[in-house]
């Protein structure tokens, strides 16, 4: 299905998923305005949100099924497999967040259904980011997502920690946006356009003449802007604090959706607009190295599970940066596979964490999980699977993702980076395993230690889905690979041919 953005009918079709979700957001707003008193209202809103996300996914699926693509090179939005798969990741992360939020919001008495509206706006922003084929769209998508997530972070505003987290996130986020924007401006100046495809053509032409200061500075600042959102070292410092302070389902959402969206945009920008440039490979190489090392090493000393997971998400950003640095179509595929795996395991981990903790779960230390396995074997099993997957252990989706990244890095000749990746993964065993050890190998401190561990039905459903998904993809990644491969190939600049691309 070829869509011509100049025709309004086609334009609407191109934006179908976003339009569906926007429509749902308005419906939700109305519904919230009407019903916002009881927990039942909250639950209804949640289910409506779930339906909204699912129906959006279906709309996305419809476009994917019809192989929608945009005619011509100049378009504000792209329509390719990369976008659809990325959309599913965001929608999936959103849907899982909805499922785990039911119990959480009720438990913490956060009886404001606007939560779900903001969640939808956040997802929408992410989708816009993944769809954007123009820096302007990507910037606006990023801001839309950010604004929604800022508020979600501070949603539990009765808790000082939540508010503080929101403030930190907001100030630093706005600060980073400034850099991103400056980067866009410089790129605009260097190439005369904000359209990714056109930038790509210009950069290709530029390279022949001379490298432009403006372009390179702009590129660097763009990477800074995205680097903040993905929490790459040294732009990561907000992450532990903000993840810590935010309500746990939001933390999960932030760690997965926000990060995936920023990566999706980064992949599209770097590959489509700067595919012919080599500078950024080097920059991202360093960024990946320090992020992997930093994230993993800093996580080692954490006692709080939540902060540990926050640093671990920094480390995972490092792994994904390896794929970014490698560049090319296998790297993009690898990103998608990894993002899917990462989303599953991170949401699962935070969901189980929220079952254990109270009031933001900041104070749940790894030792607090001691002996959990004897009381809650299934929850422990779920968390163990998530930890192993985060560790990248074979048999779980995390391994498949890491494996794909390694392939991408190695086929791009980034052998050292691959080696650093695996070595830092070893370090990560130093903090993932203690969680498993606490649950299985340490005795319960006392009989009542885990009495109040509870995850409601839907939370359990989400965790079960996550664990099944992790194991399924870990053993049978064929479909996932097929999907990722076709999606990965779709963000390549038309001018370049990929040298070595594994099947």
């Amino acid at each position: 299905m070829r869509l011509d953005p100049a025709v309004s009918h086609d334009l609407l079709l191109t934006l179908l998923p976003e339009l569906v979700l926007t429509g749902w957001s308005l419906v939700l707003l109305l519904f919230v305005a009407w019903r916002h008193q009881t927990t039942r209202d909250l639950r209804l809103t949640g289910w409506l949100t779930f339906v909204a996300l699912v129906s959006t996914a279906i709309a996305t699926w419809w476009l994917w099924w019809n192989r929608a693509s945009v005619q011509g090179t100049v378009s504000m939005v792209a329509a390719d497999d990369f976008r659809w798969v990325a959309d599913w990741i965001f929608l999936g992360a959103g849907a899982l967040t909805v499922l785990v939020s039911f119990g959480y919001l009720e438990r913490e008495r956060l009886l404001a259904p606007e939560y779900y509206v903001l969640l939808v706006f956040g997802v929408l922003g992410m989708m816009v980011m993944a769809a954007g084929a123009d820096l302007m769209v990507i910037f606006l998508g990023l801001e839309l997502m950010s604004v929604a997530v800022y508020v979600l972070t501070g949603f539990d505003r009765r808790r000082a920690r939540s508010a503080e987290a929101a403030l930190k996130y907001f100030l630093l986020g706005a600060f980073a946006s400034g850099f991103l924007l400056y980067g866009i401006a410089l790129v605009y100046g260097a190439t005369g356009t904000t359209n990714l495809g056109l930038i790509g053509t210009q950069v290709g032409a530029l390279e022949a003449s001379r490298s432009s200061v403006m372009l390179l500075a702009g590129l660097a600042l763009l990477i800074v802007g995205f680097g903040f959102k993905i929490a790459a070292v040294p732009f990561h410092m907000w992450a532990p604090d903000v993840y810590d302070g935010a309500p746990t389902p939001v933390t999960g959402f932030m760690a997965t959706g926000v990060k995936a969206a920023a990566f999706a945009a980064l992949f599209r920008v770097l590959n489509q607009a700067f595919g012919t440039l080599t500078t950024w490979h080097d920059i991202v190489w360093w960024l990946a190295v320090v992020t992997m090392i930093g994230g993993n090493v800093f996580a080692l000393s954490q006692r709080s599970v939540k902060r540990m997971l926050a640093y671990s998400s920094v480390a995972h950003a490092g792994y994904l940066l390896v794929a970014v640095s490698a560049g090319g179509s296998p790297a993009t595929s690898a990103f998608l596979v990894y993002a899917i795996a990462y989303t599953l395991m991170t949401v699962g981990a935070f969901a189980i964490l929220q079952a254990k903790g109270r009031a933001g779960e900041s104070d749940v230390t790894i030792d607090d999980l001691s002996g959990l396995a004897t009381r809650h074997p299934w929850l422990s099993f779920g968390l163990a699977v998530c930890m192993l997957s985060l560790l990248g252990f074979p048999g779980t989706a995390g391994f498949i993702g890491k494996w794909y990244i390694l392939i991408a890095a190695l086929s791009a000749g980034q052998n050292v980076l691959a080696a650093i990746l695996v070595l830092t993964s070893v370090v990560s065993a130093g903090y993932y395993l203690p969680v498993i050890m606490a649950m299985y190998m340490k005795p319960e401190p006392d009989e009542t230690a885990h009495l109040d561990v509870r995850l409601d039905r839907w939370g359990r459903t989400a965790v079960a889905a996550v664990v099944l998904g992790l194991l399924l993809f870990g053993v049978w990644p064929n479909r996932l690979f097929d999907l990722a491969r076709s999606a990965g190939g779709s963000v390549q600049p038309s001018s370049t041919s990929t040298a070595v691309s594994p099947p």
Binding site: L11, L144, G192, A208
Partner: protein, 173 residues
């Protein structure tokens, strides 16, 4: 003959000086007011750069709406007087100066940057477009044409911001 360059530098210097004052004044209100000065100067620069409509918006939206909001919050929270911890000590100053200087040093080549000749610029300069469509039209028309999608996204963004602000500000949770 009208010399835009002289005016440009004039307003530019005002903007820079007032920006410097903005970041160094102890009192938040003073800072805000100096920022307003900066914003006005920038608006003047916009005019000199053939962006009259944007200049007007700058005054209306930035200097008018946004800054008033800031001042409002400052007043609301009774932060008019400088707090003991509003600005950092010598260490903070050192760090700020050092990093700022480094950044300026790195951005210095931008001052002499010219547009790469390889770029094929879109047909027609801004001035010509303004002649053709009018000052407002030259900006407004593309909004509903080429930039329709961003425009719509911006509307959703504002909606989201409203919802967010309401959620955060409302009395009962």
């Amino acid at each position: 003959m009208f010399d835009p360059k002289g005016f440009f530098w004039f307003f530019g210097v005002i903007a820079m000086v007032s920006a410097l004052l903005c970041i160094t004044r102890r009192s938040p209100i003073a800072s805000a007011l100096w920022l307003v000065v900066t914003l006005f100067s920038i608006a003047a620069l916009f005019v000199l750069l053939d962006a009259q409509f944007i200049a007007v918006l700058q005054v209306l939206v930035y200097a008018g709406a946004i800054m008033v909001l800031f001042l409002f919050v400052i007043m609301l929270l009774n932060l008019g007087r400088p707090g003991p911890s509003d600005i950092k000590g010598p260490l903070g100053l050192g760090v700020a100066v050092l990093l700022g200087a480094a950044m300026l040093f790195l951005l210095k080549p931008l001052g002499s940057a010219t547009l790469p000749t390889a770029i094929q610029l879109p047909a027609g300069s801004v001035a010509a477009l303004q002649q053709q469509r009018g000052i407002v039209g030259s900006v407004a028309n593309p909004l509903f044409d080429a930039y329709l999608i961003p425009f719509e996204i911006a509307s959703v963004l504002l909606l989201a911001a409203i919802v967010g602000a309401v959620v955060l500000a409302k009395r009962k949770l």
